[in-house]
């Protein structure tokens, strides 16, 4: 990420959220980004994930600039290279646990072996016996584990988590965090988590703090 800036137009002039944010991570890195509410953590995450355009600056992942891609290519890029986990899991209520995990494979170029992989991932997150359950039948922590499995189904290079334990009790949060880091390690992806939780951030080898529209190493 190089010199990323993000401004929102307001009646009183542009509101700067991010200004000259630059950092780079390698495969296998895991970073936590902290900061107060409204600091722009989620904005940064969405820019990284190709869901929101930056006002200026560039994002490069594995040599590709997502915002230089067409809408169709960008969608395929997100599908193949990026996994998302949101605070409130964002599962499809109409689909079963297995189907939720398989949802990204519906538009994947190569979905061969997806079902086996989904079963495997769900087993890894401890939900191998809940494949046909609906999200409404799961606890908050279980839902987030399904979301984790879904994020990893296409073996993304970049895993982005927006307050993944924000809605969970301590025990569930611990389980989710452990799984997240464990699966990240196994897949050798780049993991970025934005969180309020100092405890969750403490599990990450790299920690940043977003303040004054820029990213600073935690504690600096």
């Amino acid at each position: 990420m190089s010199q990323i800036a993000k401004e929102y137009p307001t009646p009183r002039g542009p509101l700067s959220i991010l200004s000259g944010v630059s950092f780079s991570l390698r495969r296998g890195n895991a970073a936590a980004i902290m900061g107060p509410s409204g600091a722009g953590k989620s904005t940064l995450l969405y820019i990284l994930g190709g869901l929101e355009r930056a006002s200026s600056g560039t994002v490069t992942l594995d040599g590709r600039e997502p915002f230089a891609l067409s809408e169709k290519e960008l969608a395929a890029f997100r599908n193949q290279s990026i996994g998302f986990i949101f605070q409130d899991h964002c599962l499809l209520p109409q689909c079963s646990v297995l189907e939720n995990v398989l949802a990204p494979t519906l538009v994947a170029k190569d979905a061969a072996g997806a079902v086996d992989r989904a079963r495997d991932l769900l087993t890894q997150v401890g939900l191998g016996d809940r494949l046909e359950h609906r999200p409404a039948e799961l606890s908050g922590g279980e839902k987030q584990r399904v979301a984790l499995a879904r994020a990893l189904i296409n073996k993304p290079l970049l895993l982005l988590c927006d307050e993944p334990t924000g809605n969970l009790d301590q025990a569930s949060a611990d389980v989710v965090a452990a799984l997240l880091l464990d699966l990240h390690r196994r897949q050798e992806s780049i993991l970025i988590v934005v969180t309020h939780s100092a405890e969750l951030a403490g599990r990450f080898p790299l920690r940043y703090e977003l303040r004054n529209a820029n990213l600073h190493p935690a504690g600096a």
């Binding site: 869901l51 929101e52 969608a75 599908n79 949101f86 964002c90 499809l92 109409q94 297995l98 519906l106």
Partner: protein, 1040 residues
């Protein structure tokens, strides 16, 4: 997992929303399919009526005159009958039914009456209030081979009254003419009718079943009304009418020529007097011959006449004679000649057979026994005249040239009385018969079943009309479909965001939703098939009951057609999908993050403002142009109306968008803020109510009122069953017709060729419209208003006598009939029975909606056999009009004279138009109901979305009435905006039309309808509030 799995999951998970969408599509598809079914049903019902009423009759062989009953035997399965139009009176009740079809039938027809019995169809019996055993009087036109409008036609006794006893109800509703109304027919024994009409062994109609068209080769010359008398040295070709038409003369000449025979055309006429040298011979026959010697004004007298007149060659000789002119008067005219020769009564000059058989004259033994149908002064007859008659009978006393004779006495019925063919050949009769086309002599084959079935396609496509009438209902249903689909999408914004985050492209997501929409559209359309049947049945029921004024029959039933159901279903799929696609277009500008946050796009209000102002300027421009007459009122109404609605809705959309960031102030402000939260939803809701309100309000402004412009200023009009030959405007005519003197009453007699009603009162396609011919005096001073004419002229009536290029006959029609029933344009040519007509003028909303009008001159040329006058306009002082009606109907009862006010006639046409408007309004009201349902759905959805907010308000102490007030304020705001938008736009749009036509608004009924909609909306608000109040407080507060 496959896309189809996800689709199935989506369809079942969001089943409530999807069901609503499905029902919306089903409603639209059902309404369209049902509307088309109405058209099918009307057509099929008309077809059924034709088939039921004709029975197994496929063809009819008919003639104006009578022919041998035995002719039927040559057509295989055929039944000879007499079919005449007449009237039936029920002396006990004093009621009489005019224009009744009276059939003379026997066992070959089916169940036939016997003896002196008469059978009536149920409708006719009910009309007369007659029951079995009652005495009835049937009056029919007495057949007369000799044209009434010729000198020898009997004009004083044109009808025949027969006393009969009602035997009961007729076994079948027989009718030869397609008609959707009740059959008013009477059946009497064939033999009895034949006797009463003096036509024993003869009929005028043969009903033929099956096979191809009947071959008329078996028809004899006698069946065609042609007689061949064998004379000493020649054959004399004569006709029942006593006149030989030009067409027959041409055939006779051709037939004779083919056998190498000679012909001599003859015209014999009765002279009231031959005068010369102050002397006069009364009542003498004069013959016009090609071979008559002398110049054009030369005359040859036989010796007897020359001696009696003391005339010698070179003397002036006058012939006095009667001429019956087409104005219904007997004129005495004179012609001067110069005596060229005097010939002895010998040889050709002694021929007694020059004259045809004149009933009441030629068979008499003396002049005093003559009983001619014209005045005769027997005091003028001298003994010498009687002696001549006794000795020479009908031997002519004078001869003139044929050219002069035809100039003096030729009529539209013919210019000859006979044609001599010599020498007499036994082969001539067969040659003549072979040369004659029976149709030329009036004997024709009518494919009644094929014609009836073709006519049952209808003049009005009710399917098309009901599609128009149901248009707003369909629009409402589609708006609801879009609304529910939109609600469904709004409900799933986060899901869309997730899918985008997972790598679904927008196109993929849209395809996914479109596939969902397609599944719903297909399912909805299939459900719509059932809806179409229900809607079609409801509409057909409506036509039989509430809107019977539009069809004038209860005999319409639902006839489902696969094609219409399929078309409705297909249209449902297409329009449903289009609506869904239109709703999905809104997704594009929303960012994935916005979607994840559940936001819809928030565009600028400026665009709406700009569009609204532009539309308003255009609308007012069109209104101004329509007011000034620069733009057609209909175009002005539709154009300005649509633009006004667009302007009002886009401006309100802009207003709602602006208000979304404004401060809240009071209940109204809060309602506005709530409505502005989802401006798209609110505008859809307002649009739905506004469109329906617009329709209802504007339709009422077009309702026809008691406008008297179409009466031409004539308060009364009349039709007679039997033709009036005498002119009722003259003292002699009134005396002949037995009409008492009436002050300030003027008759405008029209010739009428009966035919199919060309007005909106007839559901069948008029294949052979009624034709009227006004007198020349009327066309010079006509009072009726014209919508247009080609060319435009101050008095388009005069165009009727203007020759047209190509020989087309100029005709005038009412603009409504021309456009909606005959489906013709001004200036357009059309062919009726081989004659080309051209519409040169279109009357504006006149009483002449049932017929075409042509000039009397053309009428007499085209329909020489149609005699007398059967249609009348009457001018009378308004205060005496009613009394005049009673007096004339009584005086002319024998003619079946029926008077009605011209305003009643116009009101009859307007009733149909107003019924259509009522239908339109009723279905518009249904659209309004759907709009209210949409409003209630939005309201409930809004309330559900805000249930946490409302629960919070409850938690902080709000009471039910506070919440109700909150919800009600928003609902009332949307309702009021919709009603006001529709009403104001409608009032503005109809202003130009109303200012010209002078329509009026039924304020009370309209107010009631709008109040009902308001009440429904308020009820829905209260129900929604109650639902919120009854839901558990804590669950709502915890829910997301």
């Amino acid at each position: 997992m496959r896309i189809s799995t996800l689709l199935a999951r989506n369809l079942t998970w969001y089943w409530r929303t999807n069901l609503a969408v499905l029902l919306g599509v089903a409603t639209a598809s059902g309404v369209l399919g049902g509307a088309l079914l109405v058209g099918d049903s009307v057509r099929a019902s008309l077809r059924d009526l034709v088939l039921a009423r004709l029975g197994d009759t496929d063809y009819v062989v008919a003639r104006n005159g009578f022919f041998r009953e035995e002719l039927a035997a040559s057509f295989g399965s055929a039944r000879p009958i007499i079919a005449v139009s007449g009237m039936v009176a029920h002396p006990a009740s004093g009621r009489r039914a005019l224009g009744v079809q009276i059939y003379g039938v026997d066992g070959r027809f089916g169940a036939a009456p016997e003896g002196q019995q008469i059978l009536l169809t149920a409708a006719l019996a009910a009309e007369l209030g007659a029951k079995a055993g009652d005495a009835l009087l049937a009056r029919v036109e007495k057949p007369s081979a000799i044209p009434l409008e010729s000198l020898h036609g009997r004009k004083d006794d044109t009808g025949k009254t027969i006393r009969l006893t009602l035997g009961g109800a007729a076994a079948r509703e027989f009718s030869l003419n397609p008609q959707q109304g009740d059959v008013r027919a009477a059946f009497v024994p064939l033999a009895l009718l034949q006797r009463q009409l003096g036509e024993v062994g003869k009929v005028n109609t043969i009903l033929v079943t099956g096979g191809g068209a009947p071959d008329l080769r078996a028809a004899t010359l006698a069946d065609l009304g042609i007689k061949i008398r064998t004379l000493a040295n020649s054959l004399s070709v004569e006709t029942d009418t006593t006149l030989v038409s030009d067409a027959l003369a041409e055939r006779v000449t051709a037939g004779a020529k083919s056998l190498g025979l000679n012909t001599q055309p003859i015209l014999t006429y009765l002279a009231n007097g031959i005068r010369a040298n102050g002397r006069e011979i009364p009542y003498s026959l004069v013959t016009a011959l090609v071979t008559a010697p002398g110049a054009e004004d030369g005359i040859t007298l036989n010796e007897w006449a020359a001696r009696d007149l003391n005339a010698k060659p070179g003397d002036a000789v006058w012939l006095d004679y009667y001429v019956w002119q087409s104005d219904g008067r007997l004129h005495t005219e004179s012609a001067q000649f110069r005596l060229a020769h005097v010939v002895p009564i010998a040889g050709a000059a002694a021929d007694r057979d020059y004259a045809p058989e004149y009933p009441g004259i030629t068979e008499s033994n003396s002049l005093h026994d003559w009983d001619p149908p014209f005045p005769l002064d027997l005091h003028r007859v001298r003994p010498a005249d009687e002696q001549y008659w006794k000795q020479y009978r009908a031997t002519p006393k004078a001869f003139i040239s044929l050219a002069r004779g035809q100039q003096l006495w030729g009529t539209r019925f013919g210019k000859l009385t006979s044609i001599r063919v010599s020498p007499p050949s036994p082969k001539f009769a067969a040659a003549l018969r072979a040369a004659i086309d029976p149709a030329q002599m009036g004997l024709s084959v009518i494919p009644v079943k094929a014609r009836g079935l073709a006519a049952s396609q209808g003049a009005t496509d009710f399917g098309e009309y009901f599609v128009y009438f149901s248009f707003f209902l369909m629009v409402s249903a589609l708006l609801l479909t879009g609304l529910f689909f939109k609600l469904g999408i709004e409900q799933r914004m986060r899901e869309i965001g997730v899918l985008r985050a997972l790598g679904f492209s927008m196109a993929k997501i849209r395809t996914l939703f479109l596939l969902e929409g397609a599944a719903l559209a297909v399912a909805g359309s299939l459900a719509g098939v059932a809806g179409a049947l229900a809607y079609g049945e409801l509409m057909v029921f409506g036509l039989r009951t509430w809107w019977m004024g539009a069809v004038s029959t209860r005999l319409i039933s639902l006839h489902p057609s696969l094609a219409s159901l399929a078309m409705g279903a297909m249209a449902g799929i297409v329009t449903g999908l289009a609506t869904i696609a239109w709703t999905l277009r809104k997704l594009e500008p929303v960012t994935p993050r916005g979607l994840l946050a559940g936001d819809m796009t928030r565009g600028s209000p400026k665009r709406g403002l700009l569009m609204g102002i532009s539309a308003a300027i255009l609308a007012f421009g069109m209104l101004g142009a329509a007011m000034l007459g620069a733009l057609d009122q209909t175009a002005g109404f539709f154009g300005a109306g649509t633009l006004l609605l667009i302007a009002a809705l886009t401006l309100q959309y802009a207003l709602l968008k602006r208000r979304s960031s404004a401060m809240i102030g009071g209940w109204a402000g809060l309602a506005l803020r709530n409505a502005a939260w989802r401006p798209g939803r609110s505008i859809l809701c307002i649009a739905q109510i506004a469109c329906a309100t617009f329709l209802i309000v504007s339709v009422d402004a077009f309702r026809q009122t008691g406008d008297s412009a179409g009466t031409g200023g004539y308060p009364l009009m009349a039709e007679s069953v039997l033709p009036l030959i005498h002119d009722p405007n003259t003292a002699a005519g009134r005396e002949a017709l037995n009409i008492p003197p009436l002050a300030d009453v003027q008759f405008i007699p029209f010739r009428l060729r009966p035919g199919d009603d060309a007005s909106c009162l007839n559901l069948y396609q008029p294949r052979n419209p009624r034709i009227l011919a006004p007198p020349a005096a009327f066309t010079r001073n006509a009072h009726f208003a014209f919508a247009d004419s080609v060319p435009r002229t101050a008095n388009p009536w005069l165009l009727l006598d203007t020759p047209l290029a190509g020989g087309a006959v100029p005709a005038i029609a009412d603009a409504n009939s021309m456009t909606y029933v005959l489906h013709l344009n001004l200036g357009e040519d059309f062919v009726l029975n081989g004659t080309r007509f051209q519409i040169v003028g279109a009357l504006r909303d006149s009483l002449f909606q049932s017929e075409l009008l042509i000039s009397e001159k053309n009428f007499l040329r085209l329909f020489p056999d149609v005699e007398g006058y059967r249609f009348f306009l009457l001018s009378a002082p308004p205060q005496t009009a009613q009394a005049v009606s009673g007096t004339l109907e009584e005086a002319l009862a024998d003619y079946g004279f029926d008077i009605q006010t011209t305003e009643a006639r116009l009101a009859g046409f307007h009733r149909v138009e107003n019924t259509y408007l009522s239908t339109f309004r009723s279905l518009g009201a249904l659209g309004l109901v759907l709009g209210t349902v949409g409003l209630a759905a939005i309201l409930l959805r809004n309330v559900l979305e805000r249930r946490r907010e409302l629960a919070l308000l409850r938690a902080v102490g709000y009471r039910p009435r506070h919440l109700a007030g909150l919800v009600l304020a928003e609902n009332l705001l949307l309702l009021t905006m919709g009603l006001a938008t529709g009403t104001v736009c409608a009032l503005l749009a109809v202003a130009p039309a109303v200012s010209v036509r002078g329509g009026q608004f039924p304020v009370a009924s309209l107010g009631l309808l709008l109040a009902a909609v308001l009440a429904t909306g308020v009820g829905a608000s209260l129900a929604a509030t109650r639902a919120v109040w009854r839901s558990p407080l804590t669950a709502a507060l915890r829910s997301e």
